[in-house]
């Protein structure tokens, strides 16, 4: 029996002066006053729970909204051609031709993954997959950009293995190939790891679903897992507060995942969509039933009534407020016509998915919720879901920004290797450094084969999956982030990150189409962090306009900081592209001995925020490399045409670690060596390690060399012949010759040495 005394609407009307714990629920005094004004009375405790969780930073975007508008205001002209669904729905939808649409989105699960790495990361995968599912799509791939503190600290050794096992444990059991992502280490993420997750889904155009409840008399069905006590307050407590030392344990706020429940939910949803049994659908993630019912009702053309006591529970002691806030995983909410109910329930029964009618669409514009016959919620749903507070938070350029930018990594400031022996040693040191070392120990814990459509997966420049076996149509996705560049200049840094993800997609032969971003920052209440955020968003919006790739959606994660110390500003950008025939994709590994190695693009002395400055000198200063979007577009055209016309045998983006790291990765991937002649007109150190943007290493069969070079020249993109695929070493003429075995040892030993102790995962 539930001993909880129900705080009904009637009771609230008659007891206007009862003190309410709005502050403990994360609401400010003026926010609470506004709720009272909206309702014309004090909220019931259930209403207070709903408002508090829906008005949290995580759900309401109250600090970021004013900036995110730029993604809509600066939408590129190309958007009209590709976007079927834009920002605002669970995920954006892109037209890829042949009657198919692709939806993709990237999201964060940072705070839960620090508290409980395995479950935090696992439910991060589960959450983003349900977002994609709720658009009507079949999820086809996932990827996980991860950022951790310094590699050899105890905390990273605790967090990383759990996060990796959680992603694998959930994603592998769900049957979704993991095709890419990143693993990055930086001191600034100590105590605040970034666990971002991306999912891609595919559907025919006519199956696109939206989250809306319309048609009076239609039924609201909750289906999937039962509701339990997990994640109660997770959204407002975990995602909107900073970790303070000595604070209370927040472990119970993390949700626990059941990938099997999600797998059958995916299959059941596919059948529901195919049989057209659904009017509107919404996944339950952060804010659970509060979010799903208020958003569905808010987007619909009527109101909604919910019988909350009908919600199937795992824990019968839950109070109505807790049921409303529970973040139990693997649940969905659908709006269904009464005549379709039997068909809907049949599909659910086939997959052993529990489905319960918990409400109906009603006349008028209110969301009303009853608990055992008593009204506990009576609100206008838009005020909960869409008309939350909006803040124009103060911003200030960080006090140290000028000094940071003035601290250029010149040759005088940071001694550079000059002799062949010094260069050779630096190459090996860099290749073995945690950020550049092979991440196979991580990615070999993820199933990249399942579904049988993975054409390219990590460590390739982008993940490529076939989405139509008849035509060979495929999509490519890449994610990138670089907190150091963004710290030096958040506007330019965000643009560089965007340019790199865009280039990575083109490098595999796909045409970049659209962007999703996950914006990881410190506290928005810190004006310096807010300035970083605003600058990064402005940079991304401007960059997307120049590249012609609209932002389709994403996520903001604030409060990634411990005490006063925020993480490096880290927008992570995902770019989606389309490739007409996946047989034409360009891999990164050298294909044949004798192929010509070409450097496409310009190299300058650019070491601000570089991996070399970080690894060798522990230095962060100066300005990030230049960004040139016109060049990036030309380069992408070259790479796509080179792939389509069969000119290119391999290609790999030049990024962190510079040209030499790119060559090492191409060589190790193929077990083929290279003889390399660096251009005479540039310092060898700069040639090898600079991180100038807009560059790619391409290999072509000798027969295609002239045709490819002509194509570059026609687009005014510099192309330089720098070597030939040959032998079993990286032989940089007149400087050094390193056997592949030695490079492989350097690259592949680091991560296992750091993390290969007994896994901490539960059995799976």
């Amino acid at each position: 029996m539930n001993l909880h005394t129900t705080d009904t609407v009637k009771h609230a009307e008659s007891t206007p002066d009862v003190g309410q714990p709005y502050a403990e629920l994360g609401l400010k005094g003026d926010e609470y006053a506004r709720i009272r004004e909206i309702l014309g009375r004090r909220p019931t405790s259930a209403e207070l729970a709903m408002y508090s969780v829906m008005w949290s930073e995580h759900c309401s975007y109250k600090s970021s909204k004013v900036h995110l508008r730029q993604f809509g205001d600066k939408v590129p002209a190309e958007a009209a051609d590709v976007l079927l669904v834009g920002i605002g729905e669970n995920a954006g939808v892109v037209d890829v031709g042949h009657g198919l649409a692709v939806t993709f989105k990237i999201e964060s699960h940072n705070h839960p993954s620090y508290v409980e790495p395995y479950q935090g990361a696992a439910t991060g995968v589960g959450g983003i997959v349900r977002d994609i599912l709720s658009m009507g799509a079949r999820p086809v791939a996932v990827m996980d950009p991860l950022r951790f503190g310094t590699a050899d600290t105890a905390d990273t050794m605790r967090v990383l293995p759990g996060v990796v096992a959680g992603i694998g444990g959930y994603g592998n059991c769900l049957g979704l190939p993991n095709i890419g992502g990143e693993v990055v280490f930086d001191e600034s993420y100590n105590g605040n790891p970034l666990v971002n997750a991306l999912c891609v889904g595919v559907m025919p155009h006519d199956r696109i679903q939206t989250a809306h409840a319309s048609g009076v008399g239609n039924l609201v069905i909750l289906f999937g897992a039962r509701t339990g006590g997990d994640g109660i307050g997770g959204v407002s407590v975990l995602a909107s507060e900073t970790f303070d030392e000595g604070g209370p344990s927040k472990r119970p706020s993390v949700q626990v995942g059941d990938p099997f429940a999600e797998k059958v939910l995916i299959e059941a949803c596919q059948e529901l969509f195919a049989q057209r049994l659904v009017i509107g659908i919404q996944d339950l993630g952060g804010a659970g039933i509060s979010c799903a019912t208020s958003e569905l009702a808010s987007n619909g053309d009527g109101g909604m009534h919910v019988w909350l006591d009908r919600v199937p529970l795992r824990d019968h002691t839950l109070a109505p407020e807790e049921i409303l806030m529970s973040e139990s995983q693997e649940r969905m909410c659908a709006v269904v016509e009464p005549t379709q109910l039997a068909g809907f329930l049949d599909v659910c029964e086939k997959w052993d998915v529990e489905a319960t009618v918990i409400g109906e669409v009603i006349e008028g514009g209110r969301l009303t919720i009853d608990w055992h016959g008593e009204r506990i919620v009576d609100v206008p749903p838009r005020t909960v879901a869409h008309e939350g507070p909006v803040y124009n938070r103060p911003m200030v350029r960080p006090a140290d920004q000028d000094a940071l930018q003035a601290d250029e990594p010149t040759a005088q400031r940071l001694p550079r290797p000059a002799t062949p022996a010094e260069l050779r040693a630096t190459v090996l040191t860099m290749a073995a450094s945690p950020n550049l070392a092979s991440k196979a120990w991580v990615t070999d814990q993820y199933d990249r084969y399942v579904l049988g459509n993975t054409v390219l997966a990590q460590p390739e420049d982008s993940g490529v999956v076939r989405i139509d076996e008849e035509t060979g149509l495929g999509v490519a996705v890449s994610t990138d982030g670089n907190g150091r560049w963004c710290r030096l200049d958040p506007y330019l840094g965000a643009q560089l990150v965007l340019a790199e993800a865009y280039r990575n997609v083109a490098t595999t032969g796909a045409k970049p189409l659209a962007v999703s971003d996950c914006l990881n920052f410190g506290s928005p209440e810190d004006p310096e962090v807010m300035w970083q955020f605003a600058e990064a968003v402005r940079g991304l919006a401007d960059g997307c306009q120049e590249l012609g790739t609209p932002v389709t959606g994403g996520n903001v994660s604030f409060y990634n900081q411990t005490g006063e110390t925020a993480i490096l500003p880290t927008p992570v950008v995902g770019v989606l592209g389309v490739i007409d025939d996946v047989e034409r994709r360009t891999p990164m590994s050298f294909a044949d001995d004798g192929d010509t190695i070409l450097l496409v693009g310009d190299t300058s002395d650019e070491f601000g925020g570089s991996e070399w400055a970080h690894v060798v000198h522990g230095h962060l200063g100066g300005r990030p490399p230049k960004v040139d979007f016109a060049r990036e577009r030309q380069l992408a055209e070259i790479l796509v045409a080179g792939s389509r016309d069969g000119m290119v045998s391999a290609a790999h983006d030049i990024s962190t670690g510079g040209l030499v790291q790119t060559l090492i990765e191409m060589a190790l991937r193929s077990s083929r060596g290279a003889r390399v002649f660096l251009p005479d007109d540039i310092d060898p150190f700069v040639a090898l390690f600079s991180e100038s943007g807009g560059r790619v290493v391409v290999t072509v069969p000798r027969s295609e060399e002239v045709r490819f070079a002509d194509m570059c020249i026609a687009r005014h993109v510099p192309v330089t012949r720098i070597g030939v695929v040959d032998g079993s070493s990286l032989d940089v003429q007149s400087l050094f010759d390193i056997p592949l075995a030695e490079l492989r040892m350097a690259s592949e030993a680091t991560i296992p040495q750091l993390f290969d102790h007994d896994a901490t995962a539960p059995a799976s």
Binding site: G169, L174, F260, V264, Y449, V455, S764
Partner: protein, 225 residues
């Protein structure tokens, strides 16, 4: 008429559509079978695919063995129907006692996904006639509980009767005793395999097409029967 090869989907099966694709690529006709099916729809052979049947929160395959369709598979296997269990399917075959031994958590205690070299040891089973004895093949391997274990006398008997179908080459990925990657029953119609031949049927998506031989063997067996 081509061979009709059934692929069972349990709730939680993951590589079922991949096994169907492999059957199709090999020239046979895939037939979808459901865990609740009361009969096998007259198929010529059955594949139990990879995945996590019913979530595998108990021992892997321990619940699937009680699925309605499995009683039919067990009966038909007794009558000589070719049955191939891949990964979770192998686990289900062991739980069903169609094959001896068990599969336990990898010795590295991590999920392992990689391309794996195997040596085909026995080409007399229903599923391996299209390979040469000693042939080395490269196919994907992906499992968390792929360590094959059995007592010494069972292992000796398997070796003595030539029932080790495939062995891991170079580096044993999961601690399987005697590097065993796959075994068969005495009659040679039931084969369990931890690696995934169905993911090595196209060079576009797999490391090789070395996996096709398992499916082609059934086709060949029917033609020559």
């Amino acid at each position: 008429m081509t061979a009709r090869i059934g692929v069972v989907t349990f709730p939680g099966s993951l590589d079922d559509r991949d096994a169907q694709r492999a059957v199709r690529v090999s020239g046979a006709e895939p037939v979808a079978l459901w865990h609740g099916d009361a009969d096998l729809h007259g198929v010529d052979a059955v594949v139990l695919p990879g995945g996590f049947s019913y979530g595998d929160y108990l021992r892997c395959g321990a619940i699937a063995r009680f699925a309605p369709v499995m009683q039919n598979v067990i009966d038909a296997a007794g009558d000589g129907l070719p049955v191939l269990g891949i990964c979770n399917g192998f686990q289900i075959l062991c739980e069903s006692h169609l094959l001896p031994g068990a599969l336990i958590r990898n010795d590295v205690r991590r999920f392992v996904c990689r391309d794996q070299w195997l040596r085909i040891e026995n080409t007399d089973t229903a599923w391996t006639t299209q390979y040469a004895t000693g042939q080395e093949i490269l196919v994907p391997l992906k499992n968390g509980e792929g360590g094959y274990v059995a007592d010494e006398s069972t292992l000796d008997r398997l070796e003595g009767e030539g029932r080790v179908v495939a062995r891991y080459l170079h580096d044993n990925p999961n601690g399987s005793y005697r590097d065993i990657a796959g075994i068969s029953n005495e009659r040679g119609n039931v084969v369990g395999l931890m690696p995934h031949p169905e993911h090595a049927v196209e060079t576009l998506t797999g490391p090789t097409t070395d996996g096709l031989g398992f499916f082609a063997s059934i086709l060949h067996g029917l033609v020559s029967a």
